[in-house]
Symmetry: C2
Subunit: 315 residues, 2 copies
């Protein structure tokens, strides 16, 4: 029996954009939006809502900024029941640039934050909520930040924040199913008035199973990406996730040919997915940054050298 409360959010263009400076062509974004709409995905995240005052539009593509105009171009004429989401980073949004939801193609704004900046995220999120958007707070790097500051943050979120959903984010791909079960239960014990979500990374090939574990413990908002596209090792694979879910509205068929025609060729270029350096940063609970840098060097195949580097840095 399926759980009708479950919602699937695809963030292929948003998290995948971290691998190409958000330079996806308009044609590809439209194909993705169309296929995901046909697949029955509930939310489609098209990018970040970063400020053009802080980032150069020469260096970054349109999905770094997600202006309403760019979003209209992406969705124009495509039949869809899916909602549109964008991500907001704390400190990188021009808040005066956000129109009321009733005047925007955006349905949901997700605020990404580290535990230490939770006050800023709550303030931003409440502003978005007041403007009429659905809102989430996505707490990053939770494999690292589980001390008393997290307890305080969760209490603040429950009491001060209008967000509809609170996401557990395994930024480093270092969680196992027991870590996910522990965190979802911990969040549930404090967050009583909002839904929980889960966003995994696939450094140790655990993003999908960790998402299943979150489902088992009653998280209802689930992130996936087509063929796992995303930063470094990538994310929970959307086709596996909606293949697993029993809700009759989901079907993988519309995204299958898109994978063969567009995502497999892109993967050869952008190189997300399971690679030994990413597995090692996951195992050691580190940001994939060091692995991404290592893979840009000529020594990129000397995995034992990276092993020595990462274990030396931990000393």
């Amino acid at each position: 029996m399926y759980r009708p409360e479950i919602k699937v959010l695809d963030c292929s263009i948003r998290d995948g954009g971290l691998m190409n400076n958000h330079q996806f062509s308009l044609d590809l974004v439209r194909k993705v939006y169309k296929a995901l709409s046909e697949a029955g995905v509930d939310y489609i995240e098209l990018g970040y809502r970063n400020s053009k005052k802080m980032f150069s539009a020469d260096e970054y593509g349109p999905w770094k900024f997600c202006t309403d105009e760019d979003i209209y171009r992406a969705i124009d004429g495509i039949e869809s029941n899916s909602k549109i989401s964008v991500m907001a980073d704390v400190g990188r949004v021009d808040m005066e640039d956000i129109k009321p939801a009733s005047e925007s193609p955006i349905d949901m704004i997700r605020t990404a934050v580290y535990v230490k900046d939770i006050d800023k995220a709550i303030a931003m999120t409440n502003t978005f909520s007041d403007l009429g958007y659905e809102t989430t707070i996505n707490i990053m790097a939770l494999s690292r930040d589980q001390g008393f500051e997290l307890d305080e943050a969760l209490n603040q979120i429950e009491n001060e924040c209008q967000a509809d959903v609170i996401y557990i984010v395994d930024s480093f791909g270092s969680m196992y199913q027991e870590s996910v079960a522990h965190l979802v239960k911990k969040f549930k014990s404090v967050i009583k008035t909002k839904e929980l979500g889960f966003h995994g990374h696939n450094n140790q090939q655990l993003a999908f199973s960790n998402t299943i574990e979150a489902i088992i413990h009653n998280a209802n908002y689930l992130d996936g990406t087509i063929f796992g596209i995303g930063r470094a090792a990538g994310n929970c694979t959307l086709e596996l996730l909606i293949g697993f879910l029993k809700n009759p509205k989901y079907t993988i068929r519309p995204i299958l040919d898109l994978i063969a025609e567009d995502f497999i060729p892109m993967q050869r270029d952008l190189e997300w997915g399971y690679m030994i350096p990413y597995a090692m940063t996951g195992m050691t609970n580190n940001h994939p940054r060091a692995a991404m840098q290592f893979l840009k060097t000529e020594e990129r195949d000397k995995y034992s050298a990276f092993y020595d580097e990462i274990y030396t840095k931990m000393d």
Copy 2:
């Protein structure tokens, strides 16, 4: 705290051999044996002990037959504390060809069987045990065969069989962590005098997490393969498994450069790993055979056609 009862078995050469008719070069097998020995792996499985009367040595390489002479050539002069395992298929072994363990380089013989042939497997296994080998029974296709015949088979195994270890094998890569937990508990409720093991396939990127789930429920014998090499989508990734285990004797460092130098180039040719047709046979609880055949055709990228084919066949 680690569990000293846990044993890791690498079956890279055995399960990987299903992708190249067991044609690995002697040089590669020696490198694998050396690296796995240094990594602290408990058992190294070098192939099948099939009869040369039933299979042609022109068509298949030496690791389909694993004669004592071939094994001696593979291990000669390499320092190792690892034990050597081979797999025996019901009905494909020349039983008169098996010497006493004291005269053989082989330490363990694992008998692979479907539930319906359990009587044959028990007879074979008891013969191997009488000859002095460590023995296991690996029950295949358990995602399909869970009816009353399995209950009967488990009781027979517990009461009539000398095997040291009984393996749960997810041949189709279709189990989730809840299926694994269910099966391990079911096995434990009957099998009181033997250890349990788990062998996963990675069709849905769940081989590693399913192995963790088996560990959580006290299975102690765990199969992995280097970089996941194995039939179709491959197996639980050995480097992730021994990176996860806390037993101080395991280290991934010795296999890292072997992955870069040998396994990644081999993967380009043999093409094990996550691919959409394998994901689909996993999702639908089917043998990967149909996907392997499909991937040999010129239409191999038409995933939606394979989707239609597999769902039509299920009607």
